[in-house]
């Protein structure tokens, strides 16, 4: 499960020795995030975002459990109980703003984590299972975030629930029945609010379980690294502790400064003012949009405005789900023998000048009103999005001639391996 040179856990304290015999939990920690886990020495700050995502998951669970102590999932009082949290509960405003912005920051770090995976082709063998589990975690996060946004029972909560559950209506035959079953009624109401609360409380723990599998699968081959060259020797690695506990700790400090700048100084910037109006089933807000982190997928949903064999609405729904499901196939769509984008000149160009601008455009269009020119721009960006993963990536990775790779991580960091080991003496003997 680890490299042969990984340090063995040897407890000195008699109590720890006792524990190691009966329940080797400290050993598990030592081998997972301690000195017993060798990690490539050249990880950049892009490798910080997994730890950050884990931190935000814990933050969401802690603040969420606190909020659930004061919130009431009933359509009569839900909106009021959120205001009660904001005004009356001690530190309630801090808990709620931390939870609301925590969701946004969870998605920010997850998006960076995913796009790190795209650029460095982290999904390639032997790490396919880590990638697949990661996509599952992302889907669970989307479901959890959507249901959480419904709970305050504001206008955006209600109409978001209406629109998203309305998507299932597009499914032929079973659609309308499925929607009624999901909502427990004919429109979002008390039954829907209650079950969303129940599931919103459950799913984070399912996510935590999936995260454990994700990390378990990661610790079999170990982390990838910016060169994409696998670890060959002890000099390619450093122990996780203290090297990456320190580096991740610094990154976490920077992330927290930015995060709390939002929580304290612009807590509502990432939200929508309409959600401070209580849900009204008889009045639709003029401009329904989801939370910002769903914009790209919402843009893809709305890009389909024409019936072609299937109704436009069904195309939109299929495309939106496919936009994420296509990630499952990445390990097999990318045929390059080389992982890292640093050594793949053509792949790199399509990443920076294709995929990234495409996602930026989809982000923008998802938040824009559904009118021209945004609809047409969304359509072009959606077409490129699928083209990128299904056509460009397989072709580019097949025909491209990658740049020469360094022999090892050590060589990439320090020059030739002889230099690395012998220092100045290497010159003399050469």
């Amino acid at each position: 499960m680890s490299f042969p040179w990984a340090k063995d856990y040897q407890p000195q304290n008699p109590l720890m020795r006792f524990l190691d015999e009966k329940l080797p939990l400290p050993r598990l920690v030592y081998n997972a995030v301690g000195a017993g886990y060798p990690v490539p020495r050249n990880l950049s700050y892009f490798w910080n975002f997994g730890v950050l995502a884990g931190f935000f998951l814990v933050l969401q669970i802690v603040t969420g459990v606190v909020l659930a102590m004061h919130y009431a999932p009933n359509t009569l009082v839900a909106f009021g109980s959120v205001e009660h949290i904001m005004r009356d509960v001690n530190w309630g405003w801090l808990m709620r703003y931390t939870h609301a912005n925590g969701a946004s920051f969870f998605f920010i770090v997850i998006y960076i984590h995913i796009f790190r995976g795209f650029f460095y082709a982290s999904y390639k063998p032997p790490r396919e299972m880590i990638w697949l589990l990661g996509v599952v975690i992302f889907l669970l996060m989307m479901a959890t975030a959507f249901m959480g946004y419904v709970l305050p029972w504001g206008q955006m909560s209600f109409w978001g629930a209406q629109v998203i559950t309305g998507l299932f209506e597009a499914i032929p035959l079973v659609g309308p029945g499925l929607k009624t079953w999901l909502l427990g009624g004919f429109a979002p109401d008390n039954a829907a609010l209650n079950r969303f609360f129940s599931l919103h409380y459950l799913l984070p723990f399912v996510i935590a379980g999936a995260v454990i599998l994700h990390i378990w699968a990661l610790h079999i081959p170990g982390s990838s690294n910016p060169t994409g060259v696998e670890v060959k020797q002890e000099s390619d690695t450093v122990p996780f502790h203290p090297y990456y506990t320190a580096k991740d700790g610094f990154g976490l400090g920077v992330a927290l400064i930015i995060f709390f700048a939002f929580v304290f100084f612009m807590p509502n910037m990432l939200g929508h003012p309409d959600n401070y109006i209580e849900a009204n089933p008889l009045s639709t807000p003029a401009h329904i949009v989801p939370e910002w982190y769903f914009y790209p997928f919402y843009a893809i949903l709305r890009a389909f405005t024409f019936d072609f064999i299937l109704p436009a609405k069904l195309w939109g729904v299929l495309a939106m789900f496919s936009a994420i499901l296509v990630w499952f196939f990445l390990p097999w769509l990318d045929k390059s023998p080389v992982r890292s984008g640093h050594y793949r000149p053509l792949f790199r160009k399509f990443f920076w000048f294709g995929l990234i601008p495409c996602m930026a455009v989809l982000f923008y269009c998802g938040g824009a009103p559904a009118e021209e020119p945004y609809v047409m721009i969304s359509q072009i960006a959606t077409a490129y999005y699928f083209l990128h993963f299904l056509v460009i990536l397989p072709i580019v990775s097949s025909i491209e001639r990658p740049d020469p790779l360094p022999f090892s991580i050590t060589e990439a960091v320090l020059g030739s391996d002889d230099n690395a080991v012998l220092g100045d003496k290497a010159q003399a003997t050469a």
Binding site: W159, Q162, V163, G166, L167, T180, W181, L182, G184, G185, F186, A187, D189, A191, R195, P281, L282, S283, T284, A286, H287, I288, R302, T305, D307, P311, A312, K313, A370, E371
Partner: protein
């Protein structure tokens, strides 16, 4: 003394077809448990369907005696808005002048109303695109390019018979089941 292990040899006796008694017992036991486990899914799944009190609210009665020509009522049916409108002669003419075959969801006004009550149009106020409430039922609201209803979310235009004419919605505004007795409209 009774022997407690006396049956062990009997259990291993294999029948003529090569099946042991133990095989039968194992398959039967696991099958029974499996059927039981599947049966528990029925309440677990159906508990999510609309409950009795939600279903009990699925009829709405309206007094339409005071509804004049050109007026609308916004009511609630199954927690969703429903529009009841007494069409003006001009609106009926406009609806009947359309070539039905040219429509996305071809229906005549007569097909969307009750016989003898062609002037009374009852439709769900739920856009068939993504479920927003269209405008046009209240005085002064935008009625769209075809004088019926207009959905502000993604710009679907419905005509005076609430049929989809322009925009992303796939269907006409849904006509719920309803009946009229004297001055009372019963929806559901």
């Amino acid at each position: 003394m009774a022997t407690t292990t006396g049956n062990a040899e009997v259990a291993d006796v294999t029948g003529e077809d090569g099946v042991r008694r133990r095989d039968f017992i194992e398959i039967a036991a696991v099958s029974a448990a499996g059927v039981g486990a599947l049966a528990t899914l029925v309440p677990l799944v159906t508990q999510m369907a609309p409950s009795a009190d939600v279903l009990a609210e699925s009829t709405t009665e309206l007094d339409i005696s005071a509804l004049d020509v050109g007026q609308s009522i916004k009511a609630v049916f199954r927690k969703q808005p429903v529009f009841v409108r007494r069409l003006t002669p001009a609106e009926i003419t406009a609806a009947n002048d359309v070539d039905v075959d040219s429509l996305r969801d071809p229906q005549t006004l007569a097909e969307r109303t009750l016989p003898g009550h062609e002037e009374l149009l009852v439709v769900m106020g739920v856009c068939t695109h993504l479920g927003c409430v269209p405008l046009g039922a209240a005085e002064g609201e935008n009625k769209g390019e075809f004088g019926g209803y207009f959905c502000p979310c993604h710009g679907s235009h419905y005509d005076t018979a609430a049929r989809i004419r322009k925009g992303p919605a796939p269907k006409n505004l849904q006509v719920p089941e309803y009946s009229i007795s004297d001055t009372t409209l019963v929806i559901g």
